[in-house]
């Protein structure tokens, strides 16, 4: 079993290792496939900082992603909970309709959405960045599916104790579904952090660029400096990896017996 896991982990991590070693090598060495870490890291970092506004983009990305993740989790889990716990025929039907919303490629709805946002004056703003993805069918469905395993007897007991419905949600559901929240948080943060197509349409100022945009900027020249590019990519990957690492225990090892 360990052998299997080690092989799988190796395959998973190898490209990442490649990225790290690429960030320490010269561009020519990177494309010739050099796998050993080099000594060019400082130079790549210097070039990157001189070339792109990495600091600003990083701050923007953190700001947008954190706000989006927190708002999105509350709104979507509330909806998913509402759909499942109080389910009836009408709500189930509404849920199916909502699922439709994720099935149209974004390319098709982007232009109407852009029209709405430019009329509202939301270009280059945080609200413009986050609003389209605060409530996603995917998250709602995820919370709906997990609410299915929320024990009904707890709810009944809580109701008899006189807890209001909203307090049951905040005081019983959220703690019980810790693992779902942690998983959802990881995924939402990752999607927010990596989102590109929408931001690139509505963010037209140099000051509102995000990390994926910085990475894209680096690939556009007649000459691509791969060492520098991979360093930028590394900086762009680390936050998600760290968030995952911090949260993984929370979603993979729920404390058994906390709520029964």
């Amino acid at each position: 079993m360990y052998v299997f896991l080690i092989i799988v982990s190796f395959i998973s991590v190898f490209p990442l290792y490649w990225m790290v070693s690429a960030a320490t090598n010269k561009s020519a060495e990177v494309i010739s496939g050099r796998l050993i870490p080099g000594t060019y890291f400082a130079e790549n970092l210097k070039n990157l900082l001189a070339n792109q506004n990495v600091g600003g983009a990083f701050v923007n990305s953190v700001k947008y992603s954190v706000i989006l993740t927190l708002v999105s989790l509350v709104v979507s889990s509330l909806a998913g909970y509402g759909f499942e716990i109080y389910h009836d025929k009408v709500k189930d039907a509404v849920m199916s309709v909502i699922l439709l919303a994720m099935m149209v490629p974004f390319v098709a709805t982007m232009i109407p959405l852009f029209q709405m946002f430019s009329t509202a004056g939301w270009l280059n703003t945080t609200i413009g960045f986050i609003l389209p993805t605060i409530s996603t069918p995917f998250l709602i469905m995820m919370f709906r599916q997990s609410a299915r395993s929320f024990p009904h007897d707890i709810m009944e007991a809580a109701r008899i104790d006189g807890l209001s419905e909203i307090r049951i949600f905040f005081q019983m559901f959220i703690p019980t579904m810790r693992s779902t929240y942690a998983a959802a948080m990881t995924i939402t943060f990752m999607n927010a952090w990596n989102s590109y197509l929408w931001p690139k349409v509505i963010m037209t100022d140099a000051t509102s660029q995000t990390m994926p945009m910085v990475v894209a900027n680096l690939t556009q020249g007649y000459v691509t400096d791969y060492g520098m590019l991979m360093l930028a990519v590394l900086i762009c990957t680390l936050p998600t990896a760290i968030v995952f690492f911090c949260l993984q225990n929370a979603f993979a090892e729920g404390i058994t017996g906390a709520v029964k």
Binding site: A28, A50, V54, Q115, T126, C246
Partner: protein, 462 residues
């Protein structure tokens, strides 16, 4: 428990933002005059969700009489650098003038322009943006409201290479100020050629037949192909086509694929090179660059901007030489000159001060040898004829064996036959690429060309 998770997330993001701030504050210190670094402090302080401030920027320009122009372009080492240099040149006479250069990849510029134009809100567009030459016709015709007509703006277009200006002329009107040179050069590793008993002279003013023969000698002596090309991309095809002044479209905009003799010659030439092993196909652009700089092939044929990539192989300094491309055999009007890539500046209709924008372009990219001298070290070669006479262009380039390559390329660019890009350029290009792939793999050339023409006609029929 939720609080704990939140705390973990917040803590980690705080640490990260500290790291980020550290990076940001370093940025101005390491200022090489490159793009966007001056924006760093502004970005750091930008308050959250401040729609007012973001909206304000373009509006403020207009109110201030337009002493600031916003520009979209995409390569800090190349075209944004050129814009900053142009700003310096223009500021000498106009001290109040300022540029706001927003680095935006070409595909993103295209997406933004398409989105803005289709939704009918052009207010998000900058004053000036850089456009790929191949996309010019498509954009001007699809979105007639976007680009301003520059014909009578006081810019002297006759001083640019005719083949270059043609990209941005629609219905006899000029919509773009030509920027970088895409004249095709053929670069060779002289040390590899030497092993086959050849010199750069054996590759100058030759035909593709001679190129093939030379290639076989090199292959035999060194085992190395002469050239690598990205499979499924038809850059070389298009260069060959233009070298004979041929296009995939007729003057009236209809597809010219079936019965296009030059195209057939081009496809056959390509296949014979590939079959002989003189041309090797690689999977991707990275691999293409890598095959050149690591010496797996003896040279390449591409737009002159490829030199910047070749010159990253510092250890090969002096081993490279540059000349013109081979000419087609059996095609009418065959020459040794062509063009690939390159871009031009467009002024948008959203620009509140057209006069300023055009005057800026007229006195820099269409009027300043000083500017072109300043940007020459970054590899930006002019298509503006007076620039080529400057001393800077006669400076020998040690990487290319002490040859005055800049002057040579400017000379090439004046000889490039002009062709018709066509509005449906990308459609036709992709269709022909499919035909080429299938033809190389043994399909019948006429059937494939028929399919390609059908595909293009289908797209035009939408």
């Amino acid at each position: 428990m939720k609080r704990k998770i939140l705390a973990a997330l917040l803590a980690s993001t705080m640490v990260l933002s500290l790291v980020g701030c550290g990076g940001g504050s370093d940025a101005p210190a390491a200022d090489n005059g490159a793009a966007a670094t001056e924006e760093a402090p502004a970005a750091e302080e930008a308050p959250a969700a401040d729609s007012g401030a973001a909206e304000e920027a373009p509006a403020a320009d207009a109110a201030a009489g337009g002493s600031t122009l916003t520009v979209w372009c995409w390569d800090p080492a190349f075209n944004s650098n050129a814009m900053y240099e142009a700003e310096k040149v223009y500021q000498k006479d106009h001290p109040d003038f300022k540029l706001n250069v927003v680095e935006t990849p070409w595909e993103d510029i295209q997406t933004k322009v398409t989105t803005a134009a289709t939704s009918g809100d052009l207010s998000t567009l900058p004053d000036i943006f850089l456009m790929q030459d191949n996309a010019f016709q498509k954009n001007v015709i699809s979105f007639p409201d976007v680009c301003a007509d520059l014909t009578n703006s006081g810019i002297d277009f006759s001083q640019f290479a005719a083949g270059k200006t043609a990209y941005s002329v629609v219905d006899g009107k000029n919509y773009g100020v030509p920027f970088d040179n895409g004249a095709v050069v053929a670069c060779y590793r002289t040390d590899i050629l030497e092993q086959a008993g050849l010199t750069i002279d054996d590759f100058t003013d030759i035909t593709f037949d001679q190129y093939l023969e030379n290639g076989k000698k090199v292959l035999e002596a060194t085992g190395k192909p002469l050239i690598s090309m990205q499979a499924g991309e038809c850059d070389l095809l298009m260069m060959m086509m233009q070298s004979a002044g041929a296009s995939l479209f007729n003057e009236d905009g209809t597809a010219n694929i079936v019965g296009n003799d030059t195209l057939k010659v081009v496809l056959e030439t390509y296949k014979s090179l590939k079959d002989a092993g003189v041309l090797v196909e690689v999977n991707s652009w990275d691999e293409y660059i890598s095959s050149m700089v690591s010496g797996d092939v003896a040279g390449t044929i591409n737009g002159c901007w490829i030199m910047a990539s070749i010159q990253t192989a510092e250890d090969q300094k002096g081993n490279w030489a540059l000349t013109n491309m081979p000419s087609l055999v059996g095609a009418a009007n065959a020459t040794n000159y062509s063009n690939n890539g390159g871009s031009s500046w467009a002024v948008t209709t959203n620009c509140k001060d057209q006069a300023l924008a055009t005057d800026f372009l007229a006195s820099t990219f269409a009027g300043s040898t000083e500017l072109y001298d300043n940007i020459l070290p970054s590899g930006a070669l002019a298509t503006w004829a007076p620039a080529g006479d400057s001393d800077a262009y006669a400076t020998p380039n040690e990487f290319f064996g002490g040859d005055a390559v800049s002057a040579k390329i400017v000379d090439f660019s004046t000889k490039v036959p002009s062709n018709i890009t066509g509005v449906y350029y990308y459609e036709a290009r992709d269709a022909v690429a499919v035909a080429l792939t299938n033809y190389i793999n043994g399909a019948d050339i006429d059937t494939e060309l028929k399919t390609a023409e059908d595909t293009v006609n289908f797209n035009m029929g939408g």
